[in-house]
């Protein structure tokens, strides 16, 4: 897989990849709380499914009673029972 120039830069200077590129950072606390940083907007939002646009593609989160607890330009916090999430191109 050819490396992006930003990844090379991060490797050379030993910097966190997400700091130099727009890659999403996903923090999952158990099954109940997910924080997605570096996202590019909400594509779909319902009780059972949330789709977020990111630099690496769409993140599809599925679960029960999903709720966007907080959002700003940098991150979005999702609460509820998260059953699964995946990247879609």
């Amino acid at each position: 897989m050819p490396k992006n120039i930003r990844h090379v830069f991060a490797d050379v200077f030993e910097l966190p990849v997400e700091a130099v590129s727009a890659l999403p950072v996903i923090t999952l606390t158990g099954q109940v709380d997910m924080i997605v940083e570096n996202y590019g907007g909400i594509i779909e939002y319902s009780d059972t499914r949330i789709m977020l646009n990111t630099a690496t593609g769409i993140i599809k989160i599925e679960g029960i009673e999903l709720d966007i607890k907080y959002m700003n330009s940098q991150c979005v916090t999702i609460k509820g029972v998260i059953n699964n999430f995946c990247f879609e191109k």
Binding site: G41, I42, D47, D67, I68, K69, Y70, M71, N72
Partner: protein, 391 residues
Amino acid sequence: MAIWNYFRGYVIIKASGLSAGKFINMSAFYGVNIWDIENDGKYYFIKADIRDKDELKEISRKSGCRTEIVAYKGLPCVLKQMRRKSAYVFGAFAFVAAIYALSGFVWTVSVEGNYRVSTNDIKNFCRQKGIYPGNLKSKINTELISNGIIAEFEDVGWAAVNIKGTKATISISETIPKIEIIDNSLYCDIISETDGIIESITVINGTPLVRANDVVKKGDVIVSGVLDIKDGEEIKGQKYVKAEAYIRAVTVHNVFFQVDMTENEKKYTGKKSKGIEIYAFEKKIDFSTPFGYDKFDKTEGYSFGLNIGEYNIPFGFKIYNINEYTINQKKLSQQEAEKKAADFLSAYKEEHFGMEDYVLSEDIKSNIKDNKLEYKVTITVSQTIGETKTR
């Protein structure tokens, strides 16, 4: 975060239409903090900072989304509403002020650590010195009162007055009980307190002047406090002591009393009513005296009064139950009169005879005269006699 949002104030926005998602994304993109985004299938409900309200309107216009502010929430909104309802604000301040003012008083007084000294005695003393429900805490000098308690009560060795909140606690520690010291240097005789025949006499100290079966009159010396010091038959000197003895004698008591054969009997007519009495401080307004009742009984049925701790607020009212009655004269039968007489006799015996005394015989003569039952009773009793008399 939630509590901070509450203090800063926030709005709930209802977003609808196809571009509602665009509105949310644009809000985030423009740096507007939004939270608790809910989707009920038809509308999106979004919470946002109250200060971003205008910016959200602009975003709404740009995104083409229909938005509506459905609620203003948080402390600034509550305060704004309060400004319109000045009575509430005044009430809240008055409540706080009342609580503050009332906390400056003592409302309950308790005493702990006392066994021999009565709680009421201590409370009464403290009341005189200023510790009582309803008095200002600032007026109470706890050190002075603690020292006062120690000085006033002999049995108290240590005392402390603590005021915590509105409660004054008087803690005391009692001294070891004093042993009663009998002064044997005071010499005295034992004299008879009644007429009788000596049954037995046991002398612990002193010179007996009577023997068993001797007749004694009231005031006669039974045991003398003078001891003769003898050398054979010759009296060499005298020693004065405190006479002590256990003496039993047979005594006779004549009792005469009359029982009236007619008795006043209370009979309720069945006429009832209720009355109220209102009181404020020392004043009483009595509405409980009924009209048209000749004789009546007044019993307290319900009373209402408020108190703070042990302090009774001097306002309230009492409701009385009033029952009318008439007095009927009832003639007692001989049996009923004799029963009353027997009750009177047993009350007499309880009053005059002790636990160690027992009745030897009882001679009762009764007759009815002038509608009265006359009782003449002669009671023969074996009882302890003798009282000390100092010389």
